[in-house]
């Protein structure tokens, strides 16, 4: 199984850093939290590395 990125929306500060680094354009920030499209996500982990609030985790999906 492949890894997928998930956001803890409660603590996301909606800075959009993850959106900028995602090679698959899988992330949008709507409202006040990031939203990851797990169809598009390839689990590369770049978003998690960039997230200043450390609210993205890779889980098996």
């Amino acid at each position: 199984m492949k890894n997928k990125a998930y956001v803890n929306k409660h603590d996301c500060v909606a800075c959009g850093s993850c959106v900028r680094v995602c090679p698959m354009s899988a992330i949008v920030v709507d409202g006040i939290a990031a939203n990851i499209n797990c169809e598009k996500c390839v689990g590369c982990g770049r978003c998690a590395k960039e997230c200043p609030a450390s609210v993205i985790q890779l889980k098996e999906g």
């Binding site: 909606a14 800075c15 850093s17 995602c22 920030v29 409202g31 006040i32 960039e50 997230c51 200043p52």
Partner: protein
């Protein structure tokens, strides 16, 4: 990712910081960085300012990310705790109102204009080179010095946490971010 016009707003932020060295009155433009996010959060109920239009955040992304001036370490837990975010927000605005009070005193003539920029609320830096006399009133210049102090302080703290932690660590405790976050939450509650 396709670049959009607003991906270049970091240039405006950089220009703002430089203009403050040239003529302090440009500091007034910084009010936009206070008003626009608040208006967006009240009208739209989202933090589009943070993830699209904030030049300060983009600047940190650029310097810390592209230029690699960041250790890319997780910020300490306490720094992303609610008490720190709100504590810093309260402290920041207390200092902000203190600055407005000094401006008021200069406007009313009870105090003389001081041509200094105060960094991190502590260090007083002589800044008279960016001062060419008063426009309308010495209070107008006083506000400019005070406001530029706030903006430069935010930049310095942001740069420090950018280097120590991740590029946009500032955004975790940025008072504007915390405030718009709260406004959005209140606004979206009644949906």
């Amino acid at each position: 990712m396709k670049k959009r016009w607003y991906d270049y707003l970091w240039i405006a932020t950089l220009a703002y910081l430089i203009l403050g060295f040239v003529n302090i009155l440009f500091a007034w433009l910084g009010l936009l960085c206070f008003l626009i996010p608040i208006v967006i959060s009240i009208v739209k109920g989202n933090k589009a300012y943070c993830n699209k239009y904030c030049g300060r955040g983009q600047m940190f992304n650029l310097i810390g990310g592209r230029f690699g001036l960041s250790r890319k370490k997780d910020i300490p837990k306490w720094m992303k705790s609610k008490w720190f975010q709100y504590g810093f927000l309260i402290f920041f605005f207390a200092m902000f109102f203190q600055m407005l009070w000094v401006t008021y005193l200069v406007f009313s003539g009870a105090r003389e204009l001081k041509q200094i920029v105060t960094l991190i609320w502590t260090f007083k830096v002589p800044w008279e080179w960016a001062y060419y006399g008063d426009f309308l009133h010495s209070g107008v210049s006083q506000f400019a010095f005070g406001f530029y102090s706030v903006m430069l302080t935010a930049t310095i703290l942001g740069l420090i946490t950018m280097i120590l932690f991740k590029p946009r660590s500032w955004c975790v405790y940025c008072p504007m971010g915390t405030m718009t976050h709260t406004i959005c939450k209140i606004k979206n509650r009644n949906k």
